[in-house]
């Protein structure tokens, strides 16, 4: 197969890709920021553990949301089926967790 690589994608598309990349970089910066807060909250011991556990769990959920919607493009159109699959997976995951926790802690 002939190798036909060239950098000439039409310039409108190229500009769009560039703007998308900018959003991705902001997403990355936010994710690093959330990670730093989570580690900082635990290392500093500034909060009682009653609060710090839900707090870092919340940060993890937000960070994973960024990962799904930006890095994995779930925010873009044509991602209805992926959303169904992932939310279906998350639903079953929550049931699994609830079931295991129920068995162990009650």
């Amino acid at each position: 197969m002939e190798n036909t690589n060239s950098n000439n994608v039409n310039s409108f598309q190229k500009q769009k890709n560039k703007e998308e990349m900018k959003k991705q970089l902001i997403t990355f910066a936010l994710m690093i920021f959330l990670t730093l807060i989570a580690f900082g909250a635990v290392i500093s011991e500034a909060m009682p553990s009653m609060f710090v556990v839900p707090f870092i769990l919340f940060l993890a959920v937000v960070q994973v949301g960024f990962q799904f919607y930006y890095f994995m493009h779930m925010k873009d159109k044509g991602h209805d089926m992926p959303a169904v699959m992932i939310y279906g997976g998350i639903w079953a995951a929550l049931l699994t967790l609830a079931g295991l926790i129920l068995i162990v802690w009650w």
Partner: protein, 207 residues
């Protein structure tokens, strides 16, 4: 595959990964797989949460976990997630060489992560005699974290195979979905790690 799917600038679709039916199917198939993986990891997380205090007199997480190492590992994997975004950016601009370069960087960061994880496990086993058999906590810990590490290893093999097999082909509508689907898988590994560093290490330190 049919004969000429190679990409020319004037016919380059804006989403080469979904321009063919095969590509669309790969895309949906991988998301379906990730939905299943979510459940798989949830059951491992559930087991870990249930057993994390069952140390049977052996070392507890609070005693052995070192947050410095975990922080470096987190940064490596998070950055490798970004570099694979860069690779897909260059794919959409039909710049095959730069895509390969960024995929290579992604692989190196993943390898760095995996090396640190192996170091971590060796450290636990030799310095603390904390093994898979030490306690229920040990079994749950190594199963959960090791399964994630196994996913990283699988991802690295997948990436290497893709890069070598397609090295001389250039980008085309046949292999663009393969690269894209790999990047989705790689992001998902990072998703799982976010919960591992939170639930296993940070919550382990909080006690």
């Amino acid at each position: 595959m049919s004969h000429d799917h190679s990409l020319k600038p004037e016919t380059m679709p804006s989403e080469p990964e979904k321009a063919t039916l095969e590509g669309k199917n790969k895309f949906l198939g991988l998301w379906f797989f990730l939905g299943g993986e979510t459940v798989l990891f949830a059951s491992l997380f559930g087991t870990y949460l249930a057993l994390r205090n069952s140390t049977a007199g052996g070392p507890s997480g609070e005693e052995i976990f070192g947050l410095e190492l975990v922080f470096i590992m987190t940064m490596l994997l998070l950055t490798s997630s970004l570099t694979s975004v860069y690779a897909m950016y260059h794919m959409k601009n039909n710049n095959y060489k730069k895509m390969q370069l960024w995929l290579g960087i992604t692989g190196l960061l993943g390898l760095g992560f995996l090396s640190l994880e192996i170091y971590e496990f060796v450290h636990y086993i030799t310095d603390y005699e904390f093994t898979f058999r030490s306690s229920a906590f040990g079994s749950a810990f190594y199963t959960l974290v090791g399964f994630h590490g196994g996913h990283v290893l699988f991802g690295l093999c997948w990436l290497l195979t893709l890069m070598i097999r397609n090295a001389k082909r250039g980008l085309n509508l046949y292999n663009a979905p393969k690269f894209y689907v790999f990047s989705l898988y790689w992001h998902f590994i990072d998703v799982v790690w976010v919960f591992i560093f939170t639930v296993v290490y940070l919550m382990g330190k909080v006690g």
